[in-house]
């Protein structure tokens, strides 16, 4: 039947085949890992076999300590994101709407933005006593700039015709911001949130690893120091799963909030 069918073109393989191939890929990866460890290509003491690590992951999942640590990581991630959003969105909106402010702050923003926020770890340790606060300073700094810059682009991207239309219909300043500027900056904001959420998770785990804030990162360091290597790998996989879940959640929220927007509507058809 293949001959009479039109070529599938650039659409790629159909869904079922993709799912099967993807599963095969995961299994191949796990198999290669198993073989590398079992045959001793890498010392099995330091690289436990995939089956052992997955078993450790399953047994971890039955422990309340694991879920508590995961909960703490998610909490500091969420609080950091919230703080970053609360600071970045209003600031970027004000700066973006006012060309004078945009011009005066540009050099300062370009200077502060690339400062790696892990550089602030020692500062956080010296200035703040509470481990959660130390984490939050680092997470918020890193996530802030991602959101700030995107919202700034978004506010600058507002269609001038829409703004003048709103003005000639007698919209007040606040109405213009709420009904014109923010909706058209929303896709940018959501991109910023997606980038920031990945950065925030990296920084949350980093703070736990380096400062010792309780959470999954800290558990990894503890498992490694205790010589529980299978558990070390299992926890590293768990942070990856957490990353996948967060990413999927943010993407789903993005699709939902932008269901009216061309980029999503175009996808659906």
């Amino acid at each position: 039947m293949g001959r009479t069918m039109p070529r599938p073109g650039n659409g790629g393989p159909p869904l079922l085949r993709r799912a099967l191939l993807g599963t095969a890929g995961v299994l191949t990866f796990l198999g290669a890992w198993e073989v590398t460890s079992r045959t001793g290509i890498v010392d099995p003491a330091y690289l436990p076999a995939a089956s052992e690590v997955l078993a450790a992951l399953v047994s971890n999942a039955t422990l309340t300590g694991f879920w508590e640590a995961a909960g703490r990581t998610v909490t500091s991630w969420a609080l950091g994101m919230l703080l970053a959003l609360l600071l970045a969105v209003p600031l970027a909106t004000v700066v973006g709407l006012w060309p004078f402010l945009q011009r005066t702050t540009r050099s300062t923003v370009e200077f502060l933005r690339p400062i790696p926020s892990v550089g602030l770890i020692p500062l956080a340790v010296l200035l703040l006593a509470e481990p959660l606060q130390q984490s939050l300073l680092i997470i918020t700094y890193g996530a802030f700039w991602q959101v700030f810059v995107q919202v700034l682009y978004g506010v600058a991207d507002v269609d001038p015709v829409a703004t003048s239309t709103a003005r000639s219909y007698g919209f007040t300043g606040w109405q213009r911001v709420r009904d014109v500027v923010l909706p058209s900056a929303l896709p940018f904001l959501l991109t910023g949130i997606r980038l920031a959420s990945a950065v925030a998770l990296i920084l949350a785990v980093t703070a736990e690893l380096v400062i010792g804030t309780p959470g999954l990162g800290n558990q990894i360091a503890l498992a490694k120091d205790a010589g529980l290597y299978a558990s070390t790998y299992a926890l590293a996989l768990a942070t990856g799963l957490l990353g996948v879940v967060i990413n999927a959640g943010v993407r789903a929220a993005e699709r939902r909030l932008l269901s009216w927007h061309q980029s999503v509507r175009g996808d659906a058809s």
């Binding site: 393989p13 602030l120 770890i121 990296i202 967060i246």
Partner: protein, 258 residues
């Protein structure tokens, strides 16, 4: 002339105000945690311009450059191969997406186990963390190559290496560079953290040492050096991007003008 003076004033205005406020606010301050501007500059030169430049700063930068460079090359190569073959792409995608989702600092203890504590472990951590944004963006970029362009290349008999060189790579370049832009900060973060973890030298190590010894002005100057490194990397990237994508920015300007 006048216009460039005005933009210079805009660029310097706020920083000058901020530094002045900082200077006035700390002039009579006695807190050891807050550095004074003059002190910080003196510390910056005194601490970092001498021997440390060669024992800490340059080795750190070399590890960063080696790791990130390797990640970019590897990401583009694997991304091209994967992106051009839809079956392979479906096969690899879940594994790649998972690895991208792992927060890269987690790899440091793991790599410490497998490779041991050494320079190559730090470079490997940087590669393993920074490669994913480049790789996945290259795959996306290659996938999104215009079908009409592809048909045209085929009609003109452009195959294999030439097709990759003259059609695929330029078409995917904006997306690839977006990936590189995400990879660079990850590289810096991993350079610093891997040094904070296992090291006896390097920027990350020194900053943590200063903090543990309560050498606050030195610590501040270390953070400043790290910031300067971040800014320098971002400036170099912007210059490279402008060069590589000058045609693309030109096209966009035309689009916006019309």
């Amino acid at each position: 002339m006048k216009r460039s003076l005005v933009s210079l004033a805009y660029a310097l205005g706020l920083p000058v105000v901020l530094v002045t406020v900082w200077w006035l606010a700390t002039r009579d301050a006695t807190s050891i945690f807050v550095p004074r501007p003059t002190e910080l500059v003196a510390e910056l030169v005194g601490t970092w311009a001498g021997e440390r430049l060669f024992t800490d700063v340059l080795p750190s930068l070399a590890r960063f450059a080696a790791g990130t460079g390797a990640a970019i090359v590897l990401g583009i190569l694997v991304g091209l191969v994967t992106g051009l073959n839809s079956g392979l792409r479906a096969f690899c995608e879940p594994v790649f997406e998972f690895f991208r989702a792992i927060p890269p600092p987690v790899l440091i203890p793991v790599f410490g186990l497998v490779i041991g504590v050494s320079d190559s472990m730090k470079v490997a951590v940087i590669v393993a963390g920074a490669v994913w944004p480049v790789l996945l963006n290259t795959v996306e970029g290659v996938r999104a190559v215009d079908a009409v362009q592809t048909e045209t290349s085929r009609a003109y008999g452009i195959h294999g290496f030439n097709r990759v060189r003259y059609q695929i790579l330029p078409a995917a370049a904006p997306q690839i560079l977006a990936g590189v832009r995400q990879a660079l900060p990850i590289g810096i973060v991993l350079m610093v953290i891997s040094e904070m973890f296992f090291s006896s030298s390097g920027l990350g190590f020194s900053i943590i040492q200063f903090q543990r010894r309560f050498a606050v002005p030195e610590m501040w100057s270390g953070i400043l050096v790290l910031g300067l490194v971040g800014i320098a990397v971002s400036i170099v990237f912007t210059m490279v991007e402008r060069r590589v994508l000058h045609w693309y920015h030109g096209l966009k300007e035309l689009d916006n003008a019309s």
